[in-house]
């Protein structure tokens, strides 16, 4: 916007002002405050916003200019930290990677917390069960004898390529909280934990793949996956999550027969 505010006040429609990028968008946000009510309610916010901006910018506008009590998580705001996964128009996405023009701004944009985890306030959920499942698969390099890192652990480009897809995970929980099995039974490890197990199971430098496979052979492990592909659709990093889960299943079967 190059138009100075002074000119805007007296001479109403400037030639360049007619094609203003700003449009009116309704944000329909799921609000929950346990100190006020046990019920979550929808609240509408009307915003003047450039459709090329992101949903996160809209939430910032609300929080900074309209209602400071709106609570949500975000850290880097550039799709790397994985803090601002939320259910936007019924689909799990990162608010910082979703442009308003891409999600039909003519209709109200619904913003809800991700499902299957306890809502603490507004869009903030308790991520502890999610990280518990992540810790359970031991997401770190394990070596048997040569624990001392005395030299570099070499790996061929092909060996690195084997698990490249699952290294992209940012632990935003968009996949796990889109999984219908996880919604109903939080004991299921969930796609994100399996993806991060996959990252080490298929790493040629790691030596605890068998242990991790044994953990995922559990009643609540990979066999509860129903291949609904919700996780693959939800992943903001484009990881083929369901494929990774299937590869773990195949590894479990082929290593036992």
């Amino acid at each position: 916007m190059a138009t100075p505010t002074l000119e805007k006040a007296d001479a109403a429609p400037e030639p360049g002002f007619a094609d203003s990028p700003y449009i009116t968008v309704t944000f329909r946000v799921r609000r929950f405050n346990p100190e006020v009510s046990a019920e979550a309610v929808w609240e509408d916010f009307q915003l003047e916003i450039d459709p090329k901006e992101r949903v996160l910018d809209g939430l910032h506008k609300i929080k900074w200019d309209v209602d400071g009590t709106l609570t949500f998580r975000r850290s880097c705001a550039h799709g790397i930290c994985g803090s601002d996964a939320m259910r936007i128009n019924g689909k799990n996405r990162l608010a910082c990677k979703t442009l308003i023009k891409d999600i039909n701004p003519e209709k109200p944009i619904t913003v809800e917390p991700i499902k299957g985890l306890t809502v603490l306030k507004d869009l903030v959920v308790d991520m502890e069960p999610f990280f518990q499942a992540y810790r359970d698969v031991m997401p770190f390099l394990i070596t048997k004898d040569t624990n001392e890192p005395t030299r570099e652990r070499f790996q061929t480009a092909e060996d690195r390529e084997r698990f490249d897809d699952t290294t992209k995970c940012i632990l935003c929980a968009a996949c796990t909280s889109s999984c219908p099995v996880f919604w109903n039974d939080g004991q299921y490890f969930g796609p994100a934990a399996i993806v991060n197990a996959h990252r080490f199971i298929f790493d040629s430098r790691d030596e605890a793949g068998e242990q991790r496979l044994e953990i995922l052979n559990d009643r609540d492990g990979v066999w509860r996956c129903r291949t609904t592909f919700n996780c693959t659709d939800a992943c903001p990093r484009g990881i083929e999550v369901t494929k990774a889960i299937q590869e773990v299943k195949r590894a479990l079967i082929t290593r036992r027969f």
Partner: protein
Amino acid sequence: MATTETTASGIGPVEGGSVHNVDNPAPLIEAPRKRTKKSPKSTRGNFEMYGWLFMRLSGIVLVVLVLGHLLIQLVLDGGVSKIGFAFVAGRWASPFWQVWDLLMLWLAMLHGANGLRTVINDYAERANTRLWLKGLLYTATVFTILLGTLVIFTFDPNIR
């Protein structure tokens, strides 16, 4: 909640002063998916893997068995109108059809029961509901398998 000194945001007139304090603490939200002592212990067996594998393999065999069964019973040679005591007696005189029907009975029942078991695991939320539904399922499965097996092995064409 709507006392005079609180606003819609739950913040009192004093800046930063919540309606909750040490004597009146905010409600504790129990995490429903927390891993507690009551949550199921992890299993170290291959049961779920064999179950998963069985579903795939029995499914493939059942496609042949069931489609063949339907073709013989309903389409070929006069269709459903030909089926009678004599027709069944005639087929079960051959060990081939005995084995076919026995295999179909066992595979279909176990395949269906395992499928329903996973459905119950996925959809029944309370432990008690799960227990009763699975109890009912296993009872019905065992009863049907035993009864069907008994009939196939003890079938007497001269029953009258």
